[in-house]
Amino acid sequence: MDFNVDHFALFGLPKKFRTDPDLLDKRYREMQVLAHPDRYAGAGDAEKRVSMQWATRVNEAYQTLKNPLRRAAYLMLLAGKKLDVESNTAMPTEFLIEQMEWREAVAEARRACANTELEQFYHRVKQQMKCRYERLASLLDDKADTALAEDEVLRLMFLDKLVSEIDDALVALEA
């Protein structure tokens, strides 16, 4: 067992986008039961530090594998493709325009303090993301089409950003 093995190997899972969420959860819990600092509260500082580092490592791996977008980006990274939503300009114009319009709509709703509208929008975007994840799964696992998958992941990154913008707006309105 190596601290530097990839997240899939750490959890003993196949390097696939489709994961068994129950198995992931189960492995996560088993590992935290073994590594978590609560297990070593009576140990010396050096042991506690090591336990914290391992528990941190397990949390990081779990969060990456659990979140579909992070998992997809991580698979791309393992395949040698570093994806970054900020620096990517290769998206089709109509997609970018649509994104801009949606962001404008969020900003507008925020100015108008339209909480309910924002909540509805939030769920609509989430729904759309869900469909795209299904497409992504088949691109990555069945067709092994990394080029199309990359495009899909980037679109999802935009949508994810949009979701957090809606969330920020809701938080700001609730403050």
Binding site: H36, G44, A46, V50, N59, V171
Partner: protein
């Protein structure tokens, strides 16, 4: 499990003896201490059998402070020297405290943290809290008949880093060894979940005297996983009192009040609020210093009306916590009600309507947090019984980030990340030849630095001059299992390093720290002088044996050089053990422990790796259970 099985100081030599540990709920209004005895958690009452300790401290001239009911008794005559609800001041600067005008205290602004002027001198909120904790520690030690190995202290889940740090400092000043800071709703979920063998998604709605927390947890086969948390660290029963207080002033057309009158009216307001829980109307009768008499009746309708916005205010974090957990109301199996203020009928109704199910009130809302803390303390102290294989996985409540150009915040660790968690981010220089980088650590959800809480500033210096953009500065945030942040920065091309454990920049002044340390030293007994030579010899012998067996098992992890140094440390200690000089033995123990700490880390690393690869899971499980098995079965 200490891998070398090194005894804690003050611990008895018998290896499997039950260790004394407590859970403490340091509340805004009431504090409690609880412990696990013969497998059962219970609150430790005072000599008169009262379980709660009012979180009130009265300072006196030339005499030690009084804590609890006796302090409250002095409130009406001496409000400036009776500090209540001090939790609201923890980790706060003066302008962050709401309604401070109506408080009877003499505040001192200080460089950041506020403090209070009393007849016994200037007191920081940390010191006042330490006085409450010390009282509880003494209560527990008297009841349990021995010194405590440690304590789990609870804090609101929504407390930020500064408030947590202040809580931990207070415990240390009270002479407590902090096993863990535990979030209040998580403690409640633990007590509730174990008691009811609950499985599924639960919400904990905790409205106490001064703080509001909502946590969403998934309980599954002994794992208590916090999915999200939210709240308001300035919202509680106190605010309902305040609403009644304002209503009285308006209804009775009162002129500005003296601090004695204000305190008196606030007490009447609280009594009325609690009375209304079981009655349709409450009388409010008070005689003011001027002789003027207030005689009013507050009906449930009016009370509900004037507090509607407060009730609504608790539901916003609830909605957000659900959203963060990616769940809807239908996914929540039950809502556990915690905190005395959840007794108010309008709260019960609002929560029931929101979650579309009757709230769970089957545990005492004032005690459940302390009981949960005691259960965890018992486990962390090493009193693990064979059935105790549950685990808590908690989160940080607020995002952590750094200030970037233009006063914006770059989030490094998002809220609701499971702890412990670490994240690194790379930054670079923006000017040619730039040799320093200032970092400003903030916490909060807002996009602008000014709207977030500033946790600390530090600087990475001595960066070798390079062209703009060439330096690679890696900033790492690490949050430990107590939810406390430390930050380090490193220029990766040159290896220049800087690090801080984040201490709030508005934190205690050096003066305050010096004074508190002196006070706490006055309280502490000199451990070395008190303990007998024999005890040190026993401890030394156990250390030597533990290291010897560790060397046999895992000696291959050491370089010949490192092994040589450990062997010579053992030789020194053995020589010292023959003498009667306890200071010499203590010194050799310290030296040997620090010499072996890297070895201990390597062994721990191997233990966890082996466990993960499944080779030894069973063996380790057995070892854990047997080495941590306490006096109870």
């Amino acid at each position: 499990m200490a891998l070398f099985q090194i005894a804690e100081p003050g611990e008895s030599a018998a290896p499997h003896q039950h260790k004394l540990a407590v859970g403490i709920d340091l509340g805004t209004t009431n504090s409690l201490v609880a412990t696990v005895k013969s497998g059962l958690a219970s609150v430790i009452p005072d000599a008169l059998g009262r379980p709660l300790l009012p979180s009130a401290v009265r300072y006196r001239d030339g005499e030690p402070p009084v804590v609890g009911y006796d302090a409250l008794a002095g409130q009406s005559s001496d409000p400036a020297n009776v500090v209540v609800s001090v939790k609201r001041f923890m980790g706060r600067s003066i302008d962050e405290v709401p309604y401070r005008e109506s408080m009877p205290y003499r505040f001192e602004a200080g460089p950041g943290a506020l403090s209070l002027k009393t007849v016994a001198g200037v007191k920081t909120p940390v010191e006042v809290s330490a006085d409450i904790l010390r009282e509880l520690r003494m209560r527990a030690e008297a009841a349990l008949g021995g010194e405590l190995v440690g304590a789990v202290i609870t804090a609101p889940a929504y407390f930020d880093d500064a408030q947590r740090q202040a809580t931990k400092d207070a415990a240390r000043f009270a002479g407590l060894s902090v096993l863990r800071l535990l979030n209040e709703p998580t403690a409640a979920a633990l007590a509730y979940g174990l008691d009811n063998a609950a499985e599924g998604v639960y919400a904990v709605y905790d409205l106490g005297g001064g703080t509001f927390d909502i946590s969403i947890l998934r309980l599954s086969r002994g794992v208590f996983e916090v999915l999200s948390t939210g709240g308001d660290s300035f919202l509680g029963g106190d605010d309902f009192d305040q609403r009644i207080f304002c209503w009285v002033i308006e209804a009775a057309k009162l002129k500005p009040l003296s601090s004695v009158d204000a305190r008196h009216l606030l007490t009447c307001a609280r009594e009325a609020k609690e009375f209304l829980t079981n009655h349709g109307a409450a009388p409010i009768v008070a005689r003011l210093g001027s002789g003027e008499v207030v005689d009013l009746e507050l009906t449930t309708e009016t009370f509900t009306e004037i507090t509607r916005t407060l009730v609504e205010k608790t539901l916003r974090p609830v909605r957000r916590a659900l959203r963060d957990a990616g769940l809807s109301v239908a996914d929540v199996k039950g809502v556990v009600m915690v905190g005395g203020a959840t007794r108010m009928p309008q709260i019960q109704r609002a929560v029931g309507e929101f979650f579309e199910k009757a709230p769970l009130n089957n545990l005492d809302p004032e005690k459940v947090v302390a009981l949960g803390a005691a259960i965890q303390a018992n486990l962390l102290a090493g009193n693990r019984a064979s059935g105790d294989d549950w685990l808590l996985l908690d989160v940080i409540p607020l995002s952590l980030g750094l200030e970037t150009m233009g006063g914006l915040v770059e989030r490094i660790i998002p809220r609701n990340s499971t702890i412990p968690v670490a994240r690194a981010q790379e930054f670079t220089t923006f000017r040619d030849g730039q040799t320093a980088l200032a970092l400003h650590v903030v916490q909060g959800e807002r996009e602008l630095v000014g709207d977030c809480r500033s946790l600390g500033r530090f600087e990475l210096r001595n960066i070798p001059p390079m062209v703009a953009g060439a330096a690679r500065i890696r900033v790492t945030f690490q949050v430990d299992a107590d939810g406390l942040l430390s930050v380090s920065a490193r220029e990766t091309t040159s290896g220049v390093e800087a690090s801080i454990a984040v201490k709030p920049s508005y934190g205690l002044s050096d003066d305050a720290i010096a004074r508190m340390l002196k006070d706490s030293l006055d309280h502490a007994k000199d451990d070395t002088a008190r303990r007998a030579v024999k005890e040190f010899q026993v401890e030394a012998q156990r250390l030597v044996e533990a290291i010897r067996s560790a060397l046999v098992a895992d000696g291959d992890l050491l370089s010949p050089d490192a092994r040589e140094r450990i062997e010579s440390g053992i030789a020194h200690l053995q020589a010292a053990m023959l003498g009667e000089d306890r200071h010499a033995i203590a010194r050799c123990i310290d030296e040997l422990e620090s010499e072996t700490s890297a070895f201990a880390a390597l062994r721990m690393d191997r233990t966890i790796r082996d466990a993960f690869s499944g080779k030894k899971i069973d063996a380790i499980e057995r070892e854990l259970v047997s080495s941590e098995k306490g006096g109870e079965t």
